[in-house]
């Protein structure tokens, strides 16, 4: 994870520098806030990568000389089909569209999203 940590730390550093510079030369507060938000996002990923690396050590994919035979086991279990994504998307669409079309639609959307989120729990292995 070290290269990833460095990459994102670099991103965070860049936005700190540019954000502070912008502030010092008299930039308006919105821009400063947006740039520092970018710092935060870069820093967030860097922090996560750093923490992961600290807990799990070096991975095969960080080593120059690793090959497939260096890792065992499953990469992950992948569902190939699920009804949840499309129904959730319908629900979220209803919620947002309801802002313009009427609260009945938003309420319907919330109901769909809630029910699908519940079903998702049972969905874990499909």
């Amino acid at each position: 994870m070290k290269p990833e940590t460095l990459l994102w730390a670099g991103v965070g550093t860049y936005f700190t520098v540019i954000g502070v510079t912008y502030m010092l030369v008299g930039g308006e507060p919105i821009g400063v806030a947006l740039l520092l938000m970018a710092t935060a996002i870069g820093g967030l990923i860097a922090g996560w990568a750093w923490d992961w690396g600290r807990k799990h050590g070096t991975r095969a994919e960080d080593r120059n000389d690793a090959d497939v035979t260096d890792v065992q086991g499953v990469v992950g279990v992948y569902s190939t089909a699920s009804l949840r994504p499309i129904t959730m998307a319908i629900g979220v669409t209803a919620i947002v569209l309801g802002l313009a079309l009427g609260s009945w639609m938003t309420i319907g959307g919330v109901a769909i999203v809630a029910s699908q989120a519940l079903l998702l729990v049972y969905d874990a292995d499909t």
Partner: protein
Amino acid sequence: MTALDPDRSAEPLGGVDHDQLVSVDDVLAGGDDGGDDGSGGDEHGGHDEGLPKTITGWLTTTDHKALGIAYAITSLIFLAIGGSLAGVIRAELAEPGEQFVSEQLYNGVFTIHGSVMVYLFAVPFGFALANYLVPLQIGAPDLAFPRLNAFSYWLYVFGGLIMLLGFAADGGAAAFGWFAYPPLSGAGASPGLGADMWIVAIILTGTSGTLTAINVIATITMLRAPGMTLFRMPIMTWNLLVTSFMVLLAFPVLSGALFMLQLDRLFGFRFYDPTDGGSPILWQHLFWFFGHPEVYIVALPFFGVVTEIFPVFARRPVFGYKGLVLATLTIGALSTSVWAHHMFVTGEVLVVFFALTSALIAVPTGVKVFNWIGSMWGGSISFEAPMKFSIGFLVTFVAGGVTGVILASPTLDYHLSDSYFVVAHFHYVMGGTVIFALFAAIYFWWPKVTGKKLSERLATWQFWLLMIGFNTTFFFMHFLGRDGMPRRVPDYAPVDNFELWNRIASFGYLILVASVVPFVIAIVKSFRAPVTEGADPWEANSLEWATSSPPPEHNFDWLPPIRSERPVFDLRWINHDEVGNPDVAEAWVDREGIADNWRPLAAELAGDPPTTTEGDQP
């Protein structure tokens, strides 16, 4: 066989007979022979590619290849819709006067044209590439969060539909231009439901994009195959990584800004209302903090496409790999620090700061162009379809860059801004490049996705029609702009050469439409043709060419050793360490006794015929 088959003898083989190179197909087939786990047995393309077979299957799929294809098809449909709206524009402008549409409808048409092209076609096609290619290029079985991926796709589809349905709303579709400046986009000037639907649509597609970006970043961070270090990833994947990060910065800001706009419109909030403590300038800052990076969010995936293609068809390694990665990162960083150059006319921004950062962006962009040319320089170039379209991309991009330099000079900008010069400029950099690179990508990866090649002859027709049509449509708009024709008007005075140039532009549009015909024929023919291509039909470099075409479910039954940014090239040259990478041969030997289906490659390459048996006619 086509007349355009590359001349292999012209390849700089360093005295090596082409037949002595390892082909991925032999290795994959060899695996079948040797394997005793019974999972092999696939002939060329005769296997199950794992794509859904039923409508329910497609509606519920979470497979990255299926979703990648779905993204591509959907965004091409939106391209056709945006293109048809452009047809309305060109029909209206073919002559002075108002012929077909009212002013209000015209405003709706160009707004939705721009919005469809930018939000629903160009960016999502980048996500199509990310979906299909990222896992294949890094040796992963899927994206990190498959269901989230499907969710993003459906949000995009629903958002797009809502935007188009705006035309059916009372008062018509949104008509305030794709950047929706308040107060024009406020409840007072645009009270209609169509405007609300436009806002909702973009909140949804923006959210979809953000989630996809998270998915891509997580995938690239966590699911790379062993040996695939960051600095061995294909430039395509790097570009998609940087694009994703930019999406992560920019899209939530846009969604937030739109949400605030919606609160203003519907619930009487006053974020953008100057009479009550708000400010339309706030919108402009938020919008352009998204809007300028957006240009690169659109462009970077397509930069990635041509960076993959140039080396393959010039038979050279990509020139300056690290430089290209650095250039991409620099573009990503700088382009988030230049937004207010779109706001100079407000007189309320730090001109020097933004002029400086904007000028700096030219540097990494120049590096890219330089490296693309460097990748071709001295190579033995062959001009198959992907290469043709990539060169079309380069030509268009450089032409657009030249007019960009003209626009960047403040005095000229004052005269030209909001004129047709700007329309011409951004269609070169954003429209032409995207379309050329898009077709380059389709021709290049079609054999991977389907196991078949598209017709070279039809591609040549398409290419030239597109080239001629594109320039006929857009080149003369420069003159229109120079002579003062403003953008966003349905009518113009029959002065100067306005009529002539507009008519030429509209005629060019017809050529553009004609260029679609050979492409459609090629696609239809391909669907009827049998699968003929092996894993690596172009003799390419990156990992997606190391699996069969189309790839099996979860992508790889087998992976080559990864020791550089072009593992498939290294495999091809594994017995020639004067050309290939010696570490690969070493890694190969190390696999003996550990990997299933291992066999000594060297023996075969010393000239023995492949030891495969049945079912393996090349």
